[in-house]
Amino acid sequence: MSDIDYKDKGSILNPLRALAFFGRKPITEKLAPRKASERYRGFHLNDWEKCVGCSTCQKVCDNAAITMVKVPGLPNDPVKGVRDLRPAIDYGRCCWCALCVDLCPTGSISLSQEYVHTCTDPELDSYFVLPDPNGIHNQHFPAGWSKESDNDLVDHQRQPMAELEPSLRIGDFSEMVSGYSKQQAIIEASRCVQCGMCHDACPTRMNAPEYIRAIWQDDLEEAVRQIYRTNPFAHTCGRVCTHRCEDACSVGHRGEPIAIRWLKRYAMDHVAPERIRAIVTEGRLSDKSGLRVAIVGAGPAGLTAAFDLARSGHQVTVYEALPKAGGMTRYGIPDYRLPAASLDRDVEIITGLGVEIRYDTHVGRDVSMAGLHDEHDAVLMAIGLQFGRSTRIPGSDQPGVYRAVDLLRDIVLGKPMAVPSRAVVIGGGNVAMDIARSLARLQKIQHGQVGITLTALQPEGHFPADPEEIKEALEEGIEILPARGPQSVVLENGRVIGLETARVMSLLDAQGRFAPTYDLDDRQIHSGEWMVEAIGQMGDADAILGTELTEQLEWARGRLQLNAEGRTSLSWLWAAGDIVNGPDVVHAVADGHRVAASINAYLNEQVKQGGTRHE
């Protein structure tokens, strides 16, 4: 029973008890709004410098109160993962739950301590506000509910990718990384906030949010379907893509970006080839146009165009000078990064669409370009950059001085190669890393130890190569010397014994052009019997086109003149790939799609006008 004594005492003095209240402080509220608490959930603040317009706040908002609006004047750079969109809040809908704060990948949004807003009828739209750092009335209220580690709902940790230990992988060319397990892939895919920054940054606009979502739902066939919407080199890109998508990933602003490339690889590796073939043929036009297209070069650009054109019903023949397809992806990328079997799967799917590849056929020697034009309705030149550039330093014309692309090609072709116990590589890009790491493997096999020195013009931290390539090269025992410029090849009795370098003082001149200057007092000699130049590549279109065509075409400073669709000044000839746009697989794929669309439009016009010239 209750402790209360409720029986009426009935004393006449009872009212006097109320007198005690005169001495008490009354409970009153001030008329003016009082200061809110430090984590109050008031009107929004948004730091426009941090915000990248990814729209995650909009996606998590439970009342659809957030609309992304375009703010003119803000940076809009898909490659950097920045959009000129900023969230605007409809305070007729907002419930101040602050989930937008907790899930914001960049941490730009917070709620403020401001909570009073009134308006008169004609200003009803003043409830729709574009928050900035100054608050909705420009009164600089302090932040209230903000992101701290406790309430941060963004998962910053990437699933680790298992890779071979350096000591194990250096002994042969087997693939370094083993790929995600199902559980890892699903967890990794679940980190994605579906902002689509990756899609905008990708040269070929891959539907990454869609295939990541499909992987999360464990619907790998749907993932493959989404991947093939824009990229027929999916096995390849799943391994060696330069992944612009990950650089733009909004989760990467404060944590590790989603491993988009590894997820693509996971999806491609876990769907059976015959299922991939079936998915790829979905939506293919069954009508044959009867028109023929010749493509010179079976690299990613040429084969992507072949893929698109074959799906559109045209008859495609690809002419390839080397014995296998893939171009630089096969003859430039070592097996430990891209196993030949993976590339073969990509190529088989393309040839499965009826694309014919004529191997060992050198256009310009075995067949002429003019001959191709006679037999086909359109011709695409996608010949890549097959020749290495030379440093042209004294001694660089000696035997023992090689170009990286030549050596990489010979390794793939299986030519016997006696690698010396010490070699020097010149260059700081991915090709330099590829050849250095390939030679290191051969040295390990042939001599039992690695003896490679790599010299690059760039200072540390500014190498053109991917940071992971540099890290892995160092792990494999390669000596990397930044800011060293090659001066001359040191010879002894006509044999290469080393490379002399000087310290680089600056790389660019006042106009920002490439003009390195050296401190000639700081010289070093790096011993090595081979000197490998990996400082860039060039193409040789003239040899393929022939003199007559070369003269007919328009050139500007040695480069073929093309319109925005990749078409030359001749109506039947297009060009694509590294020879036009460098420097990686995914750009080549994007280029292939672009010219294929142009060629297809041209051919469809031909069909309307009476079909092929070649019966």
Partner: protein, 380 residues
């Protein structure tokens, strides 16, 4: 809820009078309504009407991501929203197999008991007002506000805390917060004698509420009554003790009961519970500093969160009685079905209708407030 409530009865007997009691009535809660048939001042029959303002919560939740429902659930009971968050989060945690860190459990107890204190103060005020005493209402609302100040500091929101999240709570206590809770408790305790003088022992209230709306224990059990309304009939049942959740089994508190089963007894149970809640919060203040974090188990990205298929029935003791959430997942990103068993859905419909029968018209509002019903729990 009832279409017939919106139509006049055909050919009512000439000695009967039909009255729409609410929704626009100072003695009704929210937009609730009763259609009352009267003979003189005596109620012959009352039909409850939920008001249709808060309906559709359960259906709406099926359209929203698991995380988005966090902002929706507290709205089902405005005066005591915290148990709603807790029960929903508990259900999701059990479906996902999430282990709530110990510190988060203590923080949740802190939030639950402060919410109970605030809710009871609100109810005292409302109940007093239905007997014509408006001063206790002003006091109750003003004193509830000092608890809301604490919520504002802890959770960023005064009324809708949205503080629980599956896996734990969203933020830890701010610096100096526990000290401020302690002084607020001291203040509230110092007010209790005033409340006794002004309200609980006030003869106006005692006379008005004793013997009004009497519910027997048998009736209470048959009608699914829980919480203070059940305990006022002499049965000491409390989910916190009889099916412990969080860390209630480590806390020392009593389950106050009364035996009369009338409006007076129900209010006295709440009065005693308020003291027990102050006692519980004091224990939390003592223990919390020595309990290490974290305050939340890791959860997946809320935008890509499939809760494993299954069903769970989570129950907690709210200030109004046993509050339960039945949540079903089919393995998707949104609940397949949710159902709220709010205590008020029994108290404000079948209990209220039963107790009103035979009561006098001037007691109808008091009976409703003494049951401490929350209309959105009926509509949901």
């Amino acid at each position: 809820m009832r279409a017939e409530n919106y139509q006049a009865r055909h050919q009512p007997p000439s000695n009967e009078y039909e009255l729409n009691f609410g929704p626009n009535h100072p003695g009704i809660e929210g937009n609730y309504a009763l259609k009352v048939r009267l003979h003189g001042d005596t109620v012959i029959e009352a039909k409850a009407d939920g008001g249709y303002l808060h309906r559709g919560f359960e259906k709406l939740m099926e359209q929203r991501l698991w995380i988005q429902n966090l902002a929706l659930v507290p709205r089902i009971c405005v005066p005591d929203p915290a148990p709603m968050e807790l029960a929903y989060s508990t259900a999701v945690e059990n479906l996902c197999g999430l282990d709530v860190p110990v510190r988060a459990q203590w923080l949740r107890v802190l939030q639950m008991e402060l919410s109970r204190i605030a809710a009871h103060l609100f109810t005292f005020g409302g109940h007093a007002a239905t007997t014509g005493m408006y001063n206790p209402m002003y006091w109750g609302v003003a004193d509830r506000d000092v608890v809301l100040d604490l919520f504002e500091e802890l959770t960023g929101g005064r009324v809708y805390h949205i503080y629980n999240i599956p896996g734990g709570v969203r933020k830890d206590v701010p610096d100096g917060f526990l000290g401020r809770v302690a002084s607020t408790l001291d203040y509230l305790e110092s007010r209790l004698p005033d409340y006794d003088n002004l309200f609980f022992t006030n003869q106006v209230f005692v006379t008005r509420s004793k013997g009004v709306g009497t519910l027997s224990q048998q009736q209470a059990l048959e009608l699914g009554v829980t919480g203070p309304n059940l305990r006022a009939t002499g049965l000491a049942f409390d989910v916190r003790r009889d099916d412990p959740y969080l860390v209630y089994d480590q806390l020392d508190f009593d389950i106050p009961i009364e035996h009369a089963g009338d409006a007076w007894a129900r209010t006295l149970v709440r009065r005693a519970e308020l003291k027990e809640s102050i006692r519980i919060v004091r224990q939390v203040l003592e223990r919390l500093p020595s309990i290490p974090g974290p305050i939340r188990a890791p959860i997946p990205n809320p935008l890509a969160w499939n809760v494993p298929a299954g069903e769970y029935y989570a129950r907690v003791e709210s200030s109004k009685g046993e509050l339960s959430w039945y949540v079903v997942s089919n393995g998707g990103a949104r609940p397949y079905r949710t159902h709220i068993r709010g205590p008020s859905s029994m108290h404000a419909v079948q209990v209220l209708e039963t107790l009103c029968k035979g009561a006098r018209l001037e007691d109808v509002a008091q009976i409703m407030f003494s049951l401490d019903a929350c209309p959105p729990e009926v509509d949901r």
